[in-house]
Symmetry: C2
Subunit: 342 residues, 2 copies
């Protein structure tokens, strides 16, 4: 079956290709009767415009690239779903680049895939962009929105990770805990600007404000932001009977779940012997009864799309855009894994 082209539609409707194009795209004026005739003709032969031909002349691809280091961590999966839905609703495609830390793949994505004229804009999720990377996008005049990562250039959307770290720690302090450990994400100490780094900073600040700075230093373990990561890290922390903490602030809920299982394995009751607080509002948090600081990644993804569409000059954005620089919302949810020190 041959694919119908706009010439076929024009012929069937008895108009020129120019008029057919205007009628179908809604750009430029067309008489109502003509428009209806063209639309009927297009429907009859199942015409759909070739995106390649259209973008060759308009320079727009109706396509947004998403760079994301994980798909399988809860936070990232939720963000991705939110982005996908919002993009689909706006008629845009989503091209996925699942690249993490530095490496050949990452360079390839920025130098080849994103440098081509195939995406109109880029959303980077949880990626700490280098100068070179943002400059490359900038040179191609591609709008960039970063969600929860660090880097210059582009719009930056993020929660206040430092405040989150401080709040989680203060919650435990106010329950009377002083031996408070922190399960931090890998690279937290070497990358103070990163998400992990900021949460760690918040923890250190709150501990220092309570006069527990030296206590804090001895109680940080860096590990993968996953359940096994939290499990292993917590085992390490809780194995030291003499200096065993009475509370743990985990940098993510998945790590917190792992810490809970580690406590169970060691015969420690939660929250009787150990209080645990996480960050995220993971879908499993309720099942674990986990006290956590919720964030709303699906919503964050949709918001990133709103900002991108705005930067692309689409004025269809219904929701108000956030004040630039204002942190994204979070909320402390107290459940049954934290309790007063006994």
């Amino acid at each position: 079956m041959l694919m119908a082209a706009i010439g076929d539609v024009a012929r069937l409707a008895g108009v020129s290709k120019a008029t057919a194009s205007r009628a179908l795209s809604g750009r430029g004026h067309v008489a109502d009767a003509t428009r209806r005739r063209v639309e009927a003709a297009a429907a009859e032969i199942g015409y759909i415009a070739s995106p390649a031909a259209a973008s060759l002349v308009t320079g727009r691809t109706m396509n947004v690239g998403v760079v994301i280091p994980f798909v399988n961590r809860w936070f990232f999966g939720e963000v991705l779903e939110g982005i996908e839905q919002a993009l689909l609703a706006a008629g845009y495609d989503l091209t996925l680049y699942n690249v993490g830390s530095a490496g050949l793949d990452r360079d390839r994505v920025f130098d080849f895939f994103l440098a081509r004229k195939r995406v109109d804009a880029v959303i980077a999720v949880g990626v700490d962009l280098t100068e070179r990377e943002t400059a490359s996008l900038d040179r191609r005049e591609k709008p960039l929105v970063s969600l929860g990562g660090s880097g210059t250039g582009g719009a930056l959307l993020s929660i206040d990770d430092r405040a989150v770290g401080a709040l989680a720690t203060e919650h435990l302090l106010h329950l009377g805990h002083t031996r408070i450990a922190h399960l931090a994400g890998e690279g937290a100490s070497t990358h103070p600007e990163s998400v992990h780094g900021c949460r760690r900073e918040g923890y250190l600040e709150a501990m220092a404000a309570a006069g527990l700075a030296s206590e804090a230093d001895a109680h940080i373990v860096e590990t993968a932001m996953s359940m096994p990561g939290g499990y292993t890290g917590a085992l390490q922390l809780l194995g030291h009977p003499g200096r065993r903490p009475s509370a743990v602030f985990a940098a993510s809920d998945e790590m917190a779940f792992g810490a809970i299982r580690a406590a169970e394995r060691l015969g420690l009751a939660v929250p009787g012997d150990l209080s645990v607080i996480g960050v995220d509002g993971h879908e499993y948090a309720e099942m674990f009864g986990l006290t956590t600081i919720e964030q709303y990644p699906g919503e964050q993804g949709r918001l990133a799309v709103d900002v991108v569409l705005h930067l692309l000059g689409e004025d269809v954005v219904a929701d108000p855009l956030p004040d630039s620089g204002a942190p994204l919302p979070t909320r402390l949810v107290v459940r049954s894994t934290t309790a007063a020190l006994r």
Copy 2:
């Protein structure tokens, strides 16, 4: 900064656009010296071909559409990462369509997004495709590869879900269990062709072969393929003290994790009071000591890409393609959540 076009490269190298094109694409013969000159010119001005212009003439987009119902279930996330890596390595983009069960979004994806000439092929993961959907792709002559879903048309890659269900059940039978429950995925009984349906069939077959058909009927609960789903389902199953099962076959590892937590909550020891077996080989399985039937979703994703590339006529496929119709590999891994009935 103006984007360099192939004409600029040609001028700089002192050749025609045709020769520049041939030198850069590797199609057609070009003298070695000429090729080097063209390549140097391209590098100098940072030339990258416009995909829109190229695909307008070749009809190829170097882009594969992936239709997937979840991003945030372990199996699907792993498959997606596998697909992404393999596609990136082959120079293809991945356009993500995160659509689940029937609905407006799903129709929109098939009728509008996939119907346009923007993808060269489609990989459908865990989607039960309708006649209409496969016909639509077929009409556009887009190769289709289905991974672990049902549907006619296209290549179909999948593990033998019926055999997996039977093997899991037989493992429990051979340990002496007779009161074996099954946590099935939603829709297992109404969609016998689906992944959930086949695993349920395997369970029923094995139970019937052991003369326990009536036992089986009373012990199936359908629930979401997630940890909370397994938790709720298991609570329902284990709450009945008189008819309490001594073993549970969960249709996924995430459900199995939920079942383990449910048992703990009810004061039942695993495996002392309850044996649990799952399916997947989830990254958390080892931490839970879970007995499971492993499958290899990342590998499955890469394989789906190999098949797609083959269908697209790319002969760069290194790995041998599987025998058509042969089930994908699985493996029983016995850990500490299953034990002999005491």
